[in-house]
C-alpha cells in the first residue's frame, strides 16, 4: 500500500481525500498547514510537511543558528488485551534544535502549524543564544552526506493498525485458550502493544528524510504450580503484527510449559554462596551486555556528559583504550547497528539524518569503538584518522518523539556466537558442578562497572544435569572481569534477540533497542545471598 502512495506522490497528486482513502493510517488529528484551514494530518511524505520542516529550520537560521534541525513526529499507540479491551492514543509533536556559538537550543510543542514551527525555530535559537556568553565553544559535527528527500517505511509484513483489533483480541484470547488446554497451566495476562511513528527530519545542511517506524511487543505470562515465567519471544521488536503470527508461538509456549513442569519437579534449595561455573541463558546475557558493555561504550557517558544523570563509564580514557584495551576474552566480539531488520532500535536514518550502519564495539576481546552521534564522533577524530577511517557518526542520536532533544542512545547490540554448536541445554550438559540461570535481572552501578544479578530462575547443576532449583541467589560481578571469564559462547543456533528499553538523560528519555546474544558459560561467577547483611 505504501508503493501506491509513493506513486501517487511521484505523479504529483494532491494529498487529500484520495490519500486518506488509501487508508494506510487513520488520521484523526488535524493540523494547520497554511492552506486556510484545519486538515487531517497528511501522510508524512507530504510536500507540505517538508515545507513546514524547512520553515522551522529557516526560522532558526534567520535567528542566528549556525546549524539547525527539526523533527516532526506523529505517533500512534494501541494496546489490545485478550479480554478485548482496546486503548488508543495519538500524538503530534514538533521540535527544533539550533546551534549557536557551540550551545544547543531546543524548543518543542504539540502543534504543527506554520506559525508555530517558525516560533519554535526562533525559540530554539533564542534558547541557545541565552547561554552564548563569552567565547564560542567548538562543536564539530562529523560530516554526513545530505539526504535528498527520501522516505523509508520500516519493512513490516503486517501493519498492525491495518489488522482488525478484534482479530488481534481473538488471537490473544486463543493463546490463553491454548494454555488452558494443558492441565495445571494458567496464563494470566495476554496483551499486545503497537506503536507507529511517522517522522520527518530536516536540517540546515539541506537533508530531508521521512520514516515510518513500527514497534510491537506483547506480554504473556505462564504459571504452573507456583512457578511463573514470561514469554521472552514477545519483547519489543521493530516489527508489525508478524511478531506474533510470524513465529511458532504455540511451540514456544509448549516448550515453556514443558520447562515449567520440569522445574516444578525439581527440589528447591537455598543458595550456597561461593564461586561457581555458571551457564546464563541468552536473555540473561543480553541483559548483562546491555548493562555493562552497552552502557560503558556510550561515548558521552565516557566523557562525563551524563555524569550528573545516569553516570559515567568504567572505560575512562577512550583514545588510549581504543584498539588496545582488552575488555574480554578473544572470542568476544560485540557489534552494534541500527539497521538490523526487525530489531527495536532499527531506523534508516537516526535523528540527525545519519544513515545507519553496523559497527564493531569490541573485536576479538579488544575495545574497538564507541557509540556516537555526529558531535561525539568528532571527539574520536584523532583515533579514526590514525586508523585511516572516516570521522563518521554511528547514527546513535535518538529522540523518542519530537518533543525531546536527540541524545546518544544505545543502538541494537549483537554478541557474536561461538564456534561450537552449543546451546543452553548442551552447555548445562557440559558442566560437572555449577549453576545455570534464566532471566537474570541486573542492577549495575553508575559506570556499568560492577553489578548484581538476581531474581532469575536458578538451577543447580550436577554432572551435567539440573538437580535442584536454587532460590535467593545473587550474582555479583565486575564487568572488567566478567567478560574475561567467558568459558564458552553458545553457537549460531542459540542466538536470540530481545527488545529492551533504556533510560538516559536529564530529563530522562526512554528508548528501545534490541540485544542479540547466545547463552554463555562463565568459569568463576561469584554467587552470594543478596539478602545477607555484612
Amino acid at each position: 500500500m505504501t508503493i501506491s502512495r509513493r506513486q501517487l506522490l511521484k505523479y504529483g497528486f494532491k494529498i487529500g481525500a484520495s490519500a486518506a482513502a488509501l487508508g494506510a493510517l487513520p488520521r484523526p488529528l488535524y493540523v494547520d498547514l497554511g492552506d486556510g484551514g484545519l486538515e487531517a494530518v497528511p501522510p508524512i511524505e507530504s510536500e507540505r510537511i517538508r515545507e513546514l520542516a524547512f520553515r522551522a529550520v529557516e526560522a532558526a537560521r534567520d535567528a542566528g543558528a549556525a546549524y539547525a534541525d527539526v523533527r516532526l513526529t506523529h505517533t500512534r499507540m494501541r494496546r489490545i488485551t485478550a479480554a478485548g479491551d482496546i486503548g488508543d492514543e495519538e500524538q503530534v509533536a514538533v521540535g527544533v534544535r539550533a546551534l549557536v556559538a557551540g550551545r544547543w537550543g531546543f524548543a518543542s510543542s504539540p502543534m504543527w502549524s506554520r506559525d508555530e514551527v517558525a516560533r519554535l525555530g526562533r525559540e530554539a535559537a533564542y534558547q541557545a543564544k541565552s547561554a552564548a556568553v563569552g567565547p564560542a565553544y567548538e562543536v564539530v559535527l562529523a560530516d554526513v552526506p545530505v539526504v535528498h528527500d527520501e522516505h523509508w517505511t520500516m519493512p513490516v509484513e503486517v501493519d498492525p493498525f491495518e489488522v482488525s483489533p478484534f482479530e488481534i483480541a481473538d488471537y490473544l484470547a486463543a493463546l490463553t485458550n491454548f494454555v488452558s488446554r494443558f492441565p495445571g497451566h494458567r496464563s494470566d495476562v495476554a496483551s499486545a502493544n503497537f506503536y507507529v511513528q511517522e517522522k520527518a527530519f530536516a536540517s540546515s545542511a539541506g537533508s530531508y528524510c521521512t520514516q515510518r517506524l513500527y514497534r510491537t511487543e506483547g506480554e504473556l505470562s505462564l504459571a504452573f504450580e507456583g512457578v511463573r515465567r514470561r514469554l521472552d519471544a514477545l519483547t519489543p521488536a521493530g516489527m508489525g503484527w508478524e511478531l506474533f503470527t510470524g513465529q511458532e508461538l504455540r511451540e514456544e509456549i509448549r516448550r515453556l510449559m514443558g520447562e515449567l513442569e520440569e522445574d516444578a519437579k525439581l527440589p528447591v534449595k537455598p543458595v550456597e554462596v561461593g564461586r561457581y561455573e555458571v551457564v546464563c541463558d541468552a536473555i540473561s546475557i543480553a541483559t548483562l551486555l546491555e548493562s555493562t558493555l552497552g552502557t560503558a561504550t556510550q561515548l558521552d557517558r565516557v566523557l562525563g556528559f551524563e555524569a550528573n544523570a545516569s553516570g559515567t563509564s568504567y572505560f575512562s580514557d577512550p583514545l588510549a583504550m581504543l584498539g588496545s584495551h582488552q575488555v574480554g576474552v578473544p572470542a568476544l566480539t560485540l557489534t552494534a547497528n541500527r539497521n538490523e531488520r526487525g530489531a527495536a532500535g532499527t531506523v534508516r536514518w537516526d535523528d540527525e539524518g545519519v544513515e545507519s550502519e553496523e559497527f564493531t564495539l569490541v573485536r576479538d576481546g579488544i575495545l574497538a569503538d564507541f557509540q556516537t552521534t555526529r558531535e561525539s564522533a568528532s571527539w574520536l577524530a584523532e583515533y579514526y584518522r590514525g586508523t585511516g577511517r572516516a570521522v563518521r557518526s554511528h547514527g546513535c542520536a535518538v529522540a523518542p518523539s519530537a518533543l525531546e532533544i536527540p541524545l546518544q542512545h544505545v543502538p541494537n547490540l549483537r554478541l557474536a556466537a561461538g564456534p561450537d554448536d552449543l546451546d543452553f541445554d548442551s552447555a548445562i550438559a557440559g558442566v560437572k558442578s555449577g549453576l545455570a540461570v534464566r532471566g537474570l535481572v541486573v542492577d549495575v552501578d553508575f559506570q556499568g562497572g560492577a553489578g548484581l544479578g538476581r531474581s532469575g530462575l536458578v538451577y543447580e547443576i550436577k554432572g551435567g544435569q539440573r538437580v535442584a532449583r536454587v532460590v535467593g541467589a545473587g550474582f555479583l560481578f565486575r564487568s572488567a572481569e566478567l567478560w574475561k571469564d567467558v568459558v564458552a559462547l553458545g553457537g549460531h543456533g542459540s542466538v536470540q534477540r530481545f527488545g529492551m528499553m533504556a533510560r538516559k538523560g536529564e530529563p530522562a528519555q526512554a528508548t528501545y533497542h534490541s540485544v542479540a546474544a547466545p547463552p554463555v558459560v562463565f568459569g568463576q561467577f561469584t554467587v552470594i545471598d543478596p539478602t545477607r547483611k555484612a
Binding site: S164, F166, Y171
Partner: protein, 505 residues
C-alpha cells in the same frame, strides 16, 4: 495561542474528508474463516457471543426495555437458541476442523460445544463417540469421569467454566443418548449413579407436559431407582465423594429436587401439601431431608433453607421504621399476612460510591427487580426489608444518623420500584483501639433471630417467605442466579390461594 483561535477556525472547517477514518476501528466483523487454530475459533465465538449479549442489553435498554422486563432473568440456564451470528461464526471458523475423525481428540471439550454451536449435531455426536471410544471399559473411574465431563458439556456447563463453550440450549436429548449408550458400561454403581444424577436439569425446565419435562421425569425415575438399589456401603462411598463436592450445591439441589419430586409425587405434591397446610408442607420437606443420607440431607437443607423452614418467624426488631405509615409497622411479620422478609442494605451491595461509574444497579439489580416483580404480582404481599446502619450512605458520611440512613435507604429501594417497609437497626459496633480505629460490626438481634441458632450475619439478599401464621415456608438468596423467583412465585401463589379459600369458607 492556538487554543484561542480554533473556535474561529472551526467555522471555516467543513468536516472531515470523505474516507477520513477518525480513530475509526475496522469493522467488528472479522473474517474468521482464515483462522487456523481451534482456540482462535473458540475465542471468536466467545467474542461474538459476548458482543451480542452486550448489544442486546444495550439496544433493549435504549428501547426502554430493562432487564427486569425481559422474560428470562436466569443467566446460568439460558434455554433460547444461540443467535445466528454466533452459529455463523462457529461454522465459518470451523471449516478447517469440520472432520470429527481428524481433529485432535484432546480438543473434544472445545469442539463438541463449538460443533453444537455451529448446528453440526452429527459431527458433535461423532466426536462424542470418538471420545468415549477412547476410554477403556476396564477402567470404570476413567469411563465415569469421561461420561461426567461429557454430560456437563452437553448440559451447558463446560469444562473450566468457559462461557464461550456453554452449550445453549442444553442438549438433554444428547445426554440421554449418551447415558443409553454408555451408562451401563460403567460397572461401578456409585459412579453410574453419579453420571445419571448429573443428567438432571430440574432447575432448567419447569414441570409440565413439555417434551423436556417428560424426559426429565424419565431420567429422574432412573436416578431414583438407581439410588434405591444402592447398598449401604455404596451410599457411604457416595457420601464420602459428596463431601469433596460440597461446592456443587446447585447441582445437588437440582438432583434432590428431582428425587423429591418422584418420592413425594412431584413438586405438585409439595405445593399440594402447602395448599392443605404449612405443617403438612414442612413435614413433607423434613421427611425427605431425613430420608437422605446425613451429608446429603444437610446439603439439601442448606440449599433450601431447611434450617428455618417450619420455624416461627421472629419479630423483626428495628429502631427506625419507614414505609409502613398506613399500617402498623410492628410487629413484622404481621399476623394474618403473607410476608416476605428480605435482608437488604444498599451499602452491602453498592458499597462506597467513589465515582460516577459506581452509581448504577450492579449486583443489587437482581434482588431489586425480583422484589419489584413479586410486589407487582402480589400486591397483598407484605414485604419488609431489613437493614442495618453502616455509618455512611454511598458517598455521604457527614451528618449520617441511622434515621437519615434509613430514609435514604428506603428512598433508594423505592426509586427502583421496591415498595416495602424498611426496618433499620442501629448497628452495634466497636472499634479497634486507636490509631487503627477500624469498625467491627456485631450481630444484630435480627441476625441472631434469623439464623435460627446458626449464628453469624444474615447476608444481604436473604429472603424468608412467611405464611399468615408466621411460619417460615422458604428461605433463599434473592441475588442468586437460579430459579428463585419462579419458586417463590409458586409458593406465594399457593399461600394466597389458600388464604383466599379459607376466607371464602
Amino acid at each position: 495561542m492556538r487554543y484561542r483561535f480554533v473556535l474561529a477556525l472551526a467555522v471555516l472547517w467543513a468536516g472531515p474528508a470523505a474516507g477520513q477514518t477518525l480513530f475509526e476501528w475496522p469493522d467488528t466483523a472479522v473474517d474468521v474463516s482464515k483462522y487456523t487454530t481451534i482456540e482462535e475459533c473458540w475465542a471468536a465465538v466467545g467474542r461474538v457471543r459476548r458482543r451480542i449479549a452486550e448489544e442486546k442489553e444495550w439496544t433493549d435498554a435504549n428501547r426502554g426495555m430493562w432487564r427486569d422486563t425481559m422474560p428470562d432473568l436466569v443467566q446460568g440456564t439460558a434455554v433460547e437458541p444461540l443467535p445466528e451470528r454466533v452459529r455463523e461464526t462457529a461454522r465459518a471458523c470451523l471449516s478447517r476442523f469440520a472432520d470429527p475423525e481428524a481433529v485432535p481428540i484432546d480438543a473434544y471439550w472445545i469442539l463438541v460445544p463449538l460443533y453444537l454451536h455451529a448446528g453440526w449435531d452429527d459431527r458433535a455426536w461423532a466426536l462424542v463417540e470418538r471420545r468415549m471410544a477412547a476410554v477403556s471399559d476396564d477402567d470404570p473411574e476413567a469411563l465415569a469421569a469421561a461420561a461426567d465431563t461429557m454430560i456437563d458439556i452437553l448440559r451447558g456447563s463446560p469444562k473450566g467454566g468457559h462461557h464461550a463453550l456453554a452449550v445453549q440450549p442444553p442438549r438433554y436429548d444428547l445426554v440421554d443418548e449418551l447415558l443409553a449408550r454408555y451408562a451401563d458400561r460403567i460397572s461401578d454403581r456409585v459412579l453410574r449413579f453419579r453420571a445419571y444424577s448429573r443428567s438432571l436439569s430440574w432447575a432448567t425446565y419447569p414441570p409440565g407436559d413439555s417434551v423436556e419435562a417428560k424426559r426429565e421425569r424419565d431420567r429422574a425415575t432412573r436416578v431414583l431407582a438407581l439410588f434405591d438399589s444402592l447398598a449401604d456401603h455404596e451410599i457411604d462411598r457416595l457420601v464420602q465423594q459428596s463431601q469433596s463436592m460440597l461446592t456443587e450445591i446447585e447441582a445437588y439441589r437440582a438432583q434432590f429436587g428431582a428425587l423429591m419430586e418422584l418420592s413425594y409425587g412431584g413438586r405438585e405434591a409439595l405445593l399440594d401439601s402447602l395448599r392443605s397446610s404449612t405443617s403438612a408442607y414442612v413435614k413433607l420437606t423434613k421427611q425427605f431431608e431425613k430420608r437422605l443420607p446425613p451429608v446429603l440431607g444437610q446439603l439439601y437443607a442448606e440449599a433450601t433453607g431447611g434450617f428455618a423452614i417450619g420455624s416461627r418467624a421472629p419479630a423483626i426488631e428495628a429502631d427506625i421504621w419507614i414505609g409502613c405509615e398506613q399500617d402498623p409497622c410492628e410487629p413484622r411479620p404481621r399476623p394474618g399476612r403473607i410476608s416476605l422478609v428480605v435482608f437488604a442494605s444498599p451499602g452491602e451491595c453498592v458499597g462506597v460510591i467513589a465515582g460516577p461509574g459506581e452509581m448504577y444497579l450492579d449486583r443489587c439489580a437482581v434482588m431489586l427487580i425480583r422484589l419489584r416483580r413479586l410486589k407487582q404480582r402480589f400486591p397483598e404481599l407484605d414485604i419488609t426489608t431489613v437493614s442495618r446502619s453502616l455509618g455512611f450512605w454511598g458517598y455521604l458520611k457527614e451528618g449520617i444518623t441511622p434515621e437519615r440512613e434509613a430514609e435514604l435507604t428506603w428512598r433508594w429501594l423505592n426509586s427502583f420500584g421496591v415498595e416495602a417497609a424498611l426496618a433499620m437497626v442501629r448497628t452495634d459496633y466497636w472499634r479497634l483501639p486507636d490509631p487503627d480505629a477500624r469498625r467491627i460490626d456485631t450481630e444484630s438481634a435480627n441476625d441472631r433471630n434469623y439464623t435460627f441458632g446458626k449464628g453469624g450475619r444474615v447476608q444481604s439478599g436473604a429472603a424468608f417467605l412467611i405464611d399468615e401464621d408466621g411460619i417460615v415456608v422458604r428461605v433463599d438468596d434473592l441475588t442468586a442466579l437460579i430459579e428463585v423467583e419462579a419458586e417463590f412465585t409458586e409458593l406465594i401463589a399457593v399461600l394466597f390461594e389458600r388464604k383466599g379459600a379459607r376466607a371464602g369458607k
